[in-house]
């Protein structure tokens, strides 16, 4: 779990069953180190401590929604944390939520239920895109 070579993923969902589902999909998609948070406030603490490569975040949480968490993350005092990759995984497919997520520069928006195959594909796309961006920055 603490192998520094592995990608670090933070799972944020107030529903323990959904966190278990995401963890299993991650196990099938590759090797990752992961942490969990059950609400937005815990997620902000976890981001600062765990420094994830990617956050997979629900939206329908109380009192802090996923988008509220994301706003705080994008305004974080630590610049590196502000750029953390985020995939929204939510049952909320309302246009206003999609637009809000796009404005906050999410890397993916998956609507529950999502199949393990689609989840894995999206994960690979996000990390591939991230590597390309880093390579372009270095050149």
């Amino acid at each position: 779990m603490n192998n520094p070579q592995l990608r670090r993923i933070l799972i944020v969902d107030d529903e323990p069953f959904m966190r278990a589902t995401v963890k299993q999909m991650l196990r099938l998609s590759g090797q990752f180190t992961f942490e969990e948070a059950g609400d937005g406030a815990a997620a902000l603490n976890a981001v600062a401590e765990f420094k994830p490569d990617l956050v997979i975040c629900d939206n329908g949480m109380v009192p802090m929604t996923g988008l509220d968490f994301l706003k705080k993350l994008r305004a974080h005092e630590d610049e590196a944390l502000r750029r953390t990759l985020v995939i929204m995984l939510t049952a909320d497919a309302k246009e206003e939520t999609l637009l809000g997520a796009a404005r906050l520069k999410v890397s993916g928006y998956l609507v529950k239920p999502v199949s393990p195959k689609k989840f894995g594909e999206r994960l690979r796309q996000v990390f591939t895109g991230s590597q390309s961006a880093q390579a372009q920055t270095r050149t």
Partner: protein, 165 residues
């Protein structure tokens, strides 16, 4: 009318351009309604299934013990959410009702409890402005659907028990 249509076309184009790179909606259960919310639609061939085991099989083939634990966790969570949902209907706390219905829909559809998930999603859409009698009816149907789903999942697990170590 033509102006509205043109405006709608522009909005549709903008939303498509913004989201095509990263949106992955489950096309069988969700359609985009660019005038408002995304509404549930018929979720494919398993729409009437009490329990569609395809996600279970995708996630846990060869790991039956973990799969049983996963479904037990779903049933425990859904039982608790259903109780809170019933309490929210009784107290007419509509915001809590929306939250509970949303939670039950997301977890049920993810677990393969399709009928319960779709019913919860329908309640979520109605909870804020539906008449109390309709919400009571939803509550009754959801409890009955949960009980039937739980029995179906237990039957399914019984058929898989010999695969677990």
């Amino acid at each position: 009318m033509r102006g509205i249509a043109q405006r709608g076309g522009v909005i549709l184009g903008v939303v498509k351009r913004l989201f095509e790179p990263f949106v992955q909606a489950n096309s069988s259960t969700t359609k985009m309604n660019f005038g408002g919310t995304a509404l549930p639609t018929k979720p494919g061939p398993s729409a009437d299934a009490l329990f569609d085991d395809s996600t279970y099989r995708d996630l846990f083939t060869g790991a039956e013990a973990e799969g049983k634990e996963w479904l037990d966790r779903y049933l425990e969570s859904a039982a608790s959410t259903t109780k809170h949902l019933r309490d929210s209907i009784a107290s007419e706390n509509r915001e809590a009702l929306v939250a509970m219905a949303h939670r039950l829909a997301g977890s049920s559809l993810s677990a393969g409890a399709v009928r319960l998930g779709m019913l919860s999603r329908a309640l979520e859409q109605t909870a804020l402005d539906g008449p109390p009698s309709e919400l009571q009816d939803f509550g009754t149907r959801i409890i009955a659907e949960f009980n039937a789903t739980r029995d179906e999942i237990r039957r399914f697990l019984a058929t898989r028990s010999w695969l677990a170590p």
